[in-house]
């Protein structure tokens, strides 16, 4: 049977079309971010299909219930505007589901017809549709701009715009914006901050929301996520660390310019060097010294890399995913003496290619990079220059199967494995796990496919 063997090796430039995207649209990122606020119901201001698709996609990735409201646009709303829908939606949501916060994001439809969300929300408040002590925040996330990553960034900015307050008295805490990472990653970032003795406000925080336990109860609002009070306090923090330029910089810079909370934008702490920079920056910001427990974790990671470096040596890797993730992953692969040679992100952003070129400058091999690329192009590159390993979301399995390459699932969405929800890839522990995954993938293939006389027991 032909399994998706529709990829042609010849590459012709394409302008008008995307095949097998390496991104999706803004609203889902906004929905994911909003789920990281305690007691928050994300709300999709658009047709009900958008909301259904986002909820399904997030449910498939997390295997958890994902709740969100929709303005359920009809033909009428598309002509006369969605104000009436949003007003009614807010009234219904607060009356029945009783969230503390509703986080409204727009869609291509509501943006194009020109709905003014702050104005509608103000009207809802005036008309008593938003009860006292309840909150509505918003983000503009037209689907024809950016990607799921920018949608996430916009909603995180919406959080500080909607909640941050300045009392004039610093609270000694550090804002940590973890970027578009998994719940387990957010927990790991909190763990590192705690180990350093840093009081932090991490937002959004989906740990415990989208990887919660089975309790025998269904709760629309799990007892997890950043609280409204914490978000309010972000304006009094001593500093902000935004992890990942694409997903976190907007909010970090907003706090800097509006609330004079100084910010630093770092790469996502994936891999040895990026985690070093994170730990060091956080340490300096909070005036702490690195505890032995963190040194120990780091030492274990370096130990593993030394034990296994011959197996990493010059292995070629293809990657597709989100810019913040890919930048740090590429840096880590280079640290491991591997060669990332084909790199695609679907998310726009000029700095991406320059960063990748910088990180791969010393690789004695041609490196293909495409911003606003897709997985079809990635597959074509692989056909032209084969690789030893593919790192990408679940859609990479087609390429992996066609080309007989081991696949490590990383990014969004992962629809066919469970680990991403529970085990981090950030921090030293995350890097250790990445090493394990890389070695398992490479060595499992070697064990299964090498000539019999070369099967090694001891590696």
């Amino acid at each position: 049977m032909t399994l998706l063997r529709h990829t042609t090796p010849e590459i012709k430039p394409r302008k008008a079309l995307t095949i097998n995207p390496a991104k999706t649209c803004q609203p889902i990122g906004a929905m994911y971010a909003a789920l990281g606020i305690r007691g928050c119901l994300p709300h999709s201001h658009g047709s009900q299909g958008c909301c259904a698709y986002h909820r399904s996609a997030l449910t498939r990735h997390y295997k958890e219930p994902v709740m969100a409201g929709t303005s359920s646009f009809t033909e009428g709303s598309s002509v006369f505007g969605g104000q009436a829908n949003l007003l009614q939606a807010l009234e219904n949501i607060f009356a029945i589901y009783e969230p503390d916060v509703v986080a409204v994001h727009t869609t291509c439809l509501s943006e194009t017809i020109g709905d003014d969300i702050p104005q509608i929300v103000a009207k809802a408040r005036q008309e008593g549709k938003v009860p006292d002590g309840k909150h509505v925040i918003y983000a503009n996330t037209p689907s024809y701009v950016g990607s799921h990553v920018t949608g996430f960034a916009n909603m995180v900015k919406g959080m500080v715009r909607g909640f941050a307050q300045k009392t004039g008295k610093k609270n000694g805490r550090v804002n940590l914006i973890p970027g578009y990472v998994e719940p387990a990653d957010m927990a790991e970032i909190k763990h590192l901050a705690e180990a350093l003795g840093v009081k932090s406000i991490l937002f959004p925080d989906t740990s415990g929301v989208l990887n919660g336990p089975l309790t025998g109860q269904y709760s629309m609002f799990p007892e997890a996520g950043v609280t409204v009070d914490e978000l309010k306090a972000s304006g009094d923090a001593i500093g902000t660390l935004g992890l990942g330029e694409w997903a976190s910089a907007e909010a970090a810079r907003y706090l800097d310019s509006e609330f004079k909370v100084p910010c630093k934008i770092l790469d996502l702490p994936i891999g040895l060097k990026a985690t070093d920079r994170f730990v060091d920056t956080l340490r300096q910001l909070a005036g702490k010294s690195v505890p032995e427990s963190i040194n120990f974790e780091r030492g274990q990671l370096v130990d593993v890399i030394s034990d296994w470096h011959q197996y990493f040596y010059h292995k070629k890797v293809a990657l597709a995913g989100d810019p913040d993730q890919i930048i740090s992953l590429v840096e880590f692969l280079v640290t491991l003496d591997m060669w990332p040679v084909h790199i695609v992100t679907g998310t726009p952003g000029k700095r991406f290619e320059a960063r990748i070129r910088e990180l791969t400058a010393d690789i004695p091999h041609e490196v293909n990079v495409k911003v606003e690329g897709d997985m079809f192009l990635l597959h074509q590159w692989i056909k032209q220059t084969p690789v030893d390993l593919l790192i990408c979301n679940s859609y990479g399995k087609y390429i992996a199967r066609d080309e007989n390459i081991p696949l490590i699932r990383h990014g969004f969405p992962i629809l066919d494995r469970m680990g991403h929800v529970y085990f981090p890839t950030v921090g030293y522990k995350g890097a250790l796990r990445l090493c394990e995954k890389i070695l398992d993938a490479l060595l499992d293939k070697q064990d299964l496919t090498c000539p019999e006389h070369q099967v090694e027991l001891q590696m």
Binding site: A16, T18, C25, H43, Y53, S56, A89, I113
Partner: protein, 472 residues
Amino acid sequence: MEQVIFTERANQIVRKDGAVDFTIACNRDSLAGAVSQRACVFCGSRVVLYPIADALHLVHGPIGCAAYTWDIRGALSSGPELHRLSFSTDLKEKDVIFGGEKKLYQALTELIARHKPSAAFVYSTCIVGIIGDDLNAVAKRVEAEQGIPVIPVASEGFKGNKREGYHAACKALSKLVGRGDVSAVSPLSVNILGDFNLAGEIWIIKDYYQRMGVEVVATLTGDGRVADIEKAHGAALNVVQCSGATQDLAVMMQETYGTPFIRASYFGIEDMSQALYDVAKFFAEKDPGIMDRAKALVRDELSMLYPKLQEYKKDLKGKKAAVYVGGAFKAFSLVKSFRHLGMDVVVVGSQTGTEEDYKELAAITDEGTIIVDDANPLELSAFIKEKDVDIFVGGVKERPIAFKLGVGFCDHNHERKEALEGFAGMLNFAREVHATVMSPVWRFTPRRSGKAASAATSCTSPERPCDCAEVK
């Protein structure tokens, strides 16, 4: 029960009470703000047309609509798999301002040259409806230049729910039907409508018809091929499964070509057998032996199936099920199927049922059964707890809710991995139900582990016996 029902929705939820005439409100737009489990027009069109494996499916819109429908349904193909790729014009801000027609033309031209599909479907999305791209004009031009059918699908999301999407898909399909040469089609022939070949189900059904001596002209749309659909009007009969998805096409074909249609369900023993008997009856004049062949087929299949079902029934007897599915027609079959396993359906609902559908559901279910239209997760969760069900049958968004409550789950929707149609499917269904209802995992979940304890500590709340453990 706690307050989880919008007052506006009260008449969309009915508890069956034999003393009262059954009425239910349905087929209306979801309330703004409700966490509805429903989708949009585009979604409806996409699920219907997507399984046509040798066609190009180009989504004209921003990337999301294409990304979320990229190979998410296991609609299997026995040949080409072009349908499993994701093609999008990936509209940007500039296109929204200046229009996307040029981009669409380029994309179609390029894709047809590279992949040489047998036809192309171009799906409209919300934004296309607003900016007013003339899909018909572009399609007409490309069709003339490339010499394959290029068919626009009017699937702007905001125009309604999935139902309108089904209709748009049927209209698109009707443009393919009638183009082919039907001179070689047998007088004993059918089209299979409304089956998407999830987990290879259509192959099971096709095999039954062929064993009865009936030619299957086109499968719509599971394992579908453009050339087959083009000669679908040559079939003597349309057999339409599922209440919503493709019935409109059957109606159109009846009007245009005089092709009669019958409705069928391939789920469960009675409905599967009935479908074969109905087809046999239809052809009985042309082929007097056909009913005997149908009966022999059913007998053979049942004699294999029945003893195996009894094994499962031993464990499942007396267990309770909740069913929430897309179309109500499937719910009928499920109610009957669960009876064969000795189980009762105590909650039943659908996203798109009609009043007629719900009346029929009320007729075949027991007293006290909750019947619901367009439910939201809170309602579903409350019903599951109230009725203390052992298994929930639903789709992707319901699965984790069931599991959080410590209740088994069977995906009878897009994501089923086992064929559930036909006699073989009934056995698979029994196995799936058994696997989840009897799973040891529920012994470790708070609600169920507390159940034994609550019995021991003399539960005093007969209305909500399942909640005792939670209160502790």
